[in-house]
């Protein structure tokens, strides 16, 4: 028989693919945004990587991807730092929803756009109001400015402008995440912390088969 202990433990313990997934997630956040820009699409699509890593590797790695993406964004646009918590929340929520099997069915995935958009829209609006007094910068600010000029109060204007914009962004985002997860080969799923979900195994089954641990 096989002497499992020392040997297998080593390979089990070293984080497997998670630390290699995180840079990819961060890059995908940027590339997604760039492709959207290239195709002149009116949406950001810049949190696909965060949600993907959250959905395949768990809450922690997802949050890390969100946080680092935000910091890298801040290099060229420092005010975005204030919204870092949004990206972290996207990663956490993706990991949470994934454990509940949300990304296994397309209808549930579609519904998940709502909580993502609420975080993005409502929390985004709250941060805009708290930190920037309701007058942040970017495309949304112009809309908010216009609404205020029309006589809406600043806070309401923020919610009215941001929530629908986020729905428009998060519906395609989660559907792309769903389709990509379907395309991940089984042998890779087997080495990702939440891969057992997509391989149709329960967690008990997964614990006898090492499925890697996150580095955090």
């Amino acid at each position: 028989m096989v002497n499992e202990s020392a040997v297998v433990k080593f390979f089990k313990g070293y984080g497997r693919l998670t630390i290699f997934m995180m840079p990819i997630g961060i890059a995908i956040n940027f590339i997604g945004g760039q492709i959207a820009l290239l195709l002149k699409l009116p949406v950001y699509l810049d949190s696909i990587g965060t949600i993907l890593v959250g959905a395949t590797c768990g809450m922690g790695p997802g949050a890390v991807v969100g946080a680092i993406s935000n910091i890298l964004n801040a290099i060229t646009s420092p005010p975005t730092l204030a919204f870092g918590v949004l990206n972290i929340m996207f990663g956490l929520l993706a990991g949470y929803l994934a454990r509940r099997g949300v990304f296994k069915s397309w209808s549930k995935t579609l519904l998940s756009a709502i909580p993502f958009a609420l975080i993005g829209g409502v929390l985004g609006a709250i941060i805009t109001i708290w930190v920037f007094g309701g007058l942040a910068v970017g495309g949304g600010a112009i809309v908010v400015g216009a609404l205020v000029a029309l006589g809406l109060d600043v806070n309401t204007a923020n919610f009215v402008a941001q929530v629908p914009m986020d729905i428009l962004d998060k519906v395609p985002t989660v559907m792309i995440v769903f389709a990509i997860i379907k395309g991940i080969p089984n042998r890779t799923h087997a080495k990702l912390p939440l891969g057992y979900i997509y391989l149709g195994k329960n967690k008990a089954g997964a614990s006898t088969k090492p499925s890697g641990t996150s580095v955090s």
Binding site: V2, V7, F10, P23, P210
Partner: protein, 290 residues
């Protein structure tokens, strides 16, 4: 001591039904250049991975039989030690570069830094390897901006810097043009001359015939034949298994079919040229004597 001894080894990857290796019995000696050949999905890469312990420690699955690497059971090895003694270079030159270093020099040094080698020793060692592989022109370049062939050379250097005795190489030339392929094989031949053991997977049979000491032919996860290069390539077992052979070997067989066989079956062009030339010159005399 043998490099590897496999007895009745079978391996099935998790999440697949068909075994990737079936009942392999094989002994590999040190100091030689082994080429593993066979059609797609014949188990070549799995066999390579097994020698390095990637199967079954990284890619899970069911392993039966016994696998001994350098006289020690695969499972008794400390994986860190095994990964240092048996260097592994992949086919895809892009995954061989760490992506976190700015110059080729630092890239080659990465493994030594990770081993905790003092900086001055690292520099000496890297310089030594750079000289050995004639990479001087590349040291200051960004490894992420190199061509496929250059990356492959840097990958070799990084593994050699760590002083691996054995180097397992999965399809080193698949992404390279003929000139770069030759350059990579020249490096490999040079490594062997310096006492390293080499195991590689290769599709370009003309190169295998020219450089390999022994050939391991696989088909459908089974061992078809293992032996000295010319013996394997001239074996009738190969043709039956749909495994490619050097072009000159195919030619010799075609000649035999039309009733004009060569004295021996050649595997390299030089060999074939000698055989045919001998017949062209000495042919009539040979005929007379018969």
């Amino acid at each position: 001591m043998a490099l590897a001894t496999l007895r009745g080894v079978s391996f099935t990857y998790a999440y697949t039904n068909e075994p990737a290796l079936r009942d392999i019995n094989l002994t590999l000696e040190e100091g030689l250049l082994y080429a593993i050949i066979g059609p797609n999905a014949s188990g070549k890469s799995t066999l390579c991975a097994l020698l390095r312990g990637i199967v079954p420690l990284f890619h899970e699955g069911e392993l039966t039989g016994s696998a001994e690497i350098r006289g020690r059971n695969l499972f008794d090895w400390d994986p860190a030690e095994l990964s240092r003694e048996i260097g592994y270079v992949f086919e895809n030159p892009f995954t061989q570069i760490s992506g976190i270093k700015e110059t080729v020099f630092e890239e080659i040094a990465l493994g030594l830094e990770n081993l905790g080698m003092p900086s001055d020793e690292v520099i000496d060692r890297v310089e030594q390897v750079v000289e050995q592989l004639e990479l001087g022109a590349l040291v200051a370049k960004n490894p992420n901006e190199l061509s496929g062939g250059q990356r492959q050379k840097v990958a070799f250097a990084s593994i050699i810097a760590m002083d691996a005795d054995v180097i397992v190489i999965d399809e080193p030339t698949s992404q390279l043009d003929p000139e770069s392929s030759d350059a990579v094989f020249a490096i490999i031949a040079n490594l062997k001359k310096k006492g390293k053991s080499i195991v590689l997977v290769e599709h370009k049979m003309d190169l295998v015939a020219q450089y390999a000491d022994r050939v391991i032919a696989l088909n459908g996860g089974r061992l078809v034949i293992e032996g000295p290069t010319s013996e394997v390539f001239t074996s009738p077992l190969l043709n039956a298994s749909d495994i490619a052979r050097p072009a000159v070997t195919d030619l010799a067989e075609a000649l035999a079919k039309v009733g004009r066989p060569l004295a021996r079956t050649p595997v390299t062009r030089a060999e074939a040229a000698d055989l045919i030339r001998a017949r062209m010159k000495g042919g009539p005399r040979a005929n007379r004597s018969r």
